[in-house]
Amino acid sequence: MSPEPRRLHRAGILVYALATLREAAIPLLAVFLVGGLGGGFDERALLRAVAFTVAGAVFAAAAGYVRWRTTTWWVSEEGIHRRSGLVSIKETDVPLGRIQSLDVEQGPLQRAFAVYSLHVQTGGGGAKGEIVLEALARADVERLRELAGARRSPVAAPGPERRLGRRGLLVAALTAGQLGVLLPVLAAAGQLGQSLFDERRGSEAVGLLPDAASEWALAAAVLLAVAWLLSMLGSVVAFAGFRVRRESDRLRIRRGLLARREATVPVVRVRAVEVVEGVLRRPLGLAALRMEVIGHADEAAPAKTLFPLLAVRDVRAFLDELLPELADDLDRLEPPPRRALRRYLVPPVVLAAVVGAPLWAFAGAGPWPLAVALAAGAGYGVLQFRAAGWRLEDGRLATRAMRVARITVLAPASRRESHSIGQTPLQRRGDLADLEVEFGKQTSARVRHLDAATAAALWERIAT
C-alpha cells in the first residue's frame, strides 16, 4: 500500500452529501418552512419550495464533493493517517501498533456501491473509531487488515465459525420480547386507569367498571402486541445475518440487516461471557450469549452479543470452539445453604404484602389479590434461591443469579476488575454473606446469601 495520500472511493461523495444533509436538516427545514410556505399555499409557494429543495440538493452535493475532495488517507511505516478539511485542517494519525481493531460498517448507501465504512479502533473508548474512513473498497479494507494484523499474527487463518440461520433468527425475534420494554408501558396504562377511576367516583364508576375494564384489557393487549412487534423488528434488524468467526487471537462478528456491521474483538479484551436465559427462552432451553468487552462500554447492547440464540446444552461446545479461554460448564454449581432460602423469600414477600394489603384494606378487593401477590412473591423468591449458585475451578469462576432473566457469568477469576464480600447486619446474624466479582461496567457476578465462611474462603481464593 503506497504511502501517498489517496482519496476515498467515489461513493464517498454521496456519503458525505447525505451526511451534510443530515447535519443541516434542522436549519434547512426552518428555512424551508419560513421561506417556502410563508405566504400561504399557492402556485408560487410551491415553485419556491421546489427551488429551495433543488438548492438544498445542489448545496449538499457540492459540500459532499468538497468534503470528499479534501479528505485523504494514507498508510505509512508509522501508521494510518487521515487528513480532512478545507479551511480548518484536521489530521489524525494512529500508529499501527496502537490499532486494537479495524471494524467495518455498511449502511444502505455503502452497500449499494459495495464500499465499507472503516473504523480504526484504538481502544481509547467511544463507539466511533479514532479514524473513520467513510467509503473504502473491499480490497483496501482487506489490505489494511493485513497490514494491521501483520504485527501480531502473520497468518490469520479463518477458524471456526457459527452463523444464525433463518429459523434461529425467527425464534430469536419471537422470544426477544423484553419485559423491560413493557414495564413503562404498563405503568403508564396503570396510571391512566387510576386517573380515570379517580374522576368518576361512586356508583357511576361502578357502573362503568366492567365496560372500562374490558377496554383497558383491550388497550393493554394492543400495547403488548405493539411492543412485542417492535422488539421482534428490532431483533431482526440487529441480528439478521449474524456470524461469528474465530481468527487466531480475535473474534470477528458480523451482523445487521440495514446497516451491516462487522466488528473485531481481541480475545484478551473479553473479560466475561454471560449466558442470558430470558423469561421466554428459559422454558425452551434457549439462551443468548453476551460478552463484556473492555473499552467497548459505550456500545449498544447488540454490539456485545456473542451469539443471539443458542440451546443451553450447546453453550459449552460453542465456547470450546470459539472462545475456549472462557469456556466453562453451566451445571454443577454450588447453591447457597438452605437456611438462606428465608433471605431470598423475605424481600419479595414483603413487597407483595405492601402492594396487596392496601388493595384488601381500602379498595375492597377482597383477600384474593393479596393471596395471589404473596404466592407470586414467594414463588419468585424460591426461583431466585434455586437459580443462585457458584463454582470456582482451575481459576474459572461461574456464578448464576436471576432477576428477570437467569444469567450465568463465566469468566476466569484473573480477568476481574475487583471483587468484594459484603455483610448486612441481618446476614451477620444468619452467618451469611454476599460475594460480588466485577468484570466490567455491565457485568458483575453477584451471588447473594452464601455461607459466610464459604464466601470468605472464596474471596481469599479469588484474591490469590
Binding site: 481502544g123 481481541p266 484478551v268 479484551r269 473479560r271 473492555i294 473499552g295 462500554a297 476481574r416 476488575e417 475487583s418 471483587h419 468484594s420 464480600i421 459484603g422 455483610q423 448486612t424 447486619p425 466485577e438 468484570f439 466490567g440 461496567k441 458483575s444 474471596w459 481469599e460 479469588i462 484474591a463 490469590t464
Partner: protein, 153 residues
C-alpha cells in the same frame, strides 16, 4: 492478603460526616416541623420528635461507626478497602486493573487538610474519602509506582 486492612481515614473525617448528617437531618426536621402544623394529635408530636431523634442518633452514632469500620491498605498487588456503617463490605482491586487515580479536595476538605482519592478501573470507580492529605498523596504515588510495572491490556 487475608489480614484485614489496617489504615484508617483522618480522625477529622468524623466531623465532616457529622456536619453532613446534621445538614440533611436539619432539612428533614424543618420540613417535618412545617408539615406537623397540618397534622393534629399524636401524629403532629411524632412528626416533630421523630426527625429530631433521627438527627441526634445519626449525628452521634453514624460517623463514629463509619469511621471505625473504614480501613484501607495499598499492597503491592492490590488495593484493599473495607467500609460500611451497618453493611460492611470488603473490596480488593488488583493494581494491574487501575486505570487512573484521582485526588480531589473540596473547600471543606481543604480547610481541614483532607483529600479524597478515587481509584478508577474499567468497571467503575472506588473511593477512599477524607484521607489526611499526606496519606492521599502517598496512595496516589504508590499506585502510580506500581501500575506501570504490570502493564497489560
Amino acid at each position: 492478603m487475608s489480614a484485614e486492612p489496617s489504615r484508617t481515614l483522618a480522625p477529622s473525617a468524623r466531623w465532616v460526616w457529622r456536619a453532613e448528617q446534621a445538614l440533611t437531618w436539619g432539612v428533614l426536621v424543618a420540613i417535618a416541623a412545617v408539615a406537623s402544623f397540618q397534622l393534629d394529635g399524636a401524629l403532629a408530636v411524632l412528626a416533630r420528635v421523630l426527625p429530631i431523634a433521627g438527627l441526634l442518633a445519626c449525628v452521634a452514632v453514624v460517623p463514629v461507626l463509619r469511621w471505625r469500620n473504614w480501613r484501607w491498605e495499598v499492597h503491592p498487588q492490590a488495593i484493599d478497602i473495607r467500609h460500611g456503617t451497618l453493611t460492611v463490605r470488603r473490596t480488593l482491586i488488583p493494581v494491574v486493573r487501575v486505570q487512573h487515580v484521582e485526588t480531589s479536595r473540596d473547600v471543606l476538605e481543604r480547610s481541614l487538610g483532607l483529600a479524597t482519592v478515587k481509584i478508577h478501573t474499567a468497571a467503575g470507580s472506588h473511593e477512599i474519602p477524607l484521607l489526611r492529605a499526606a496519606d492521599a498523596g502517598e496512595v496516589r504515588d504508590r499506585i502510580a509506582d506500581l501500575a506501570p510495572a504490570a502493564d497489560e491490556p
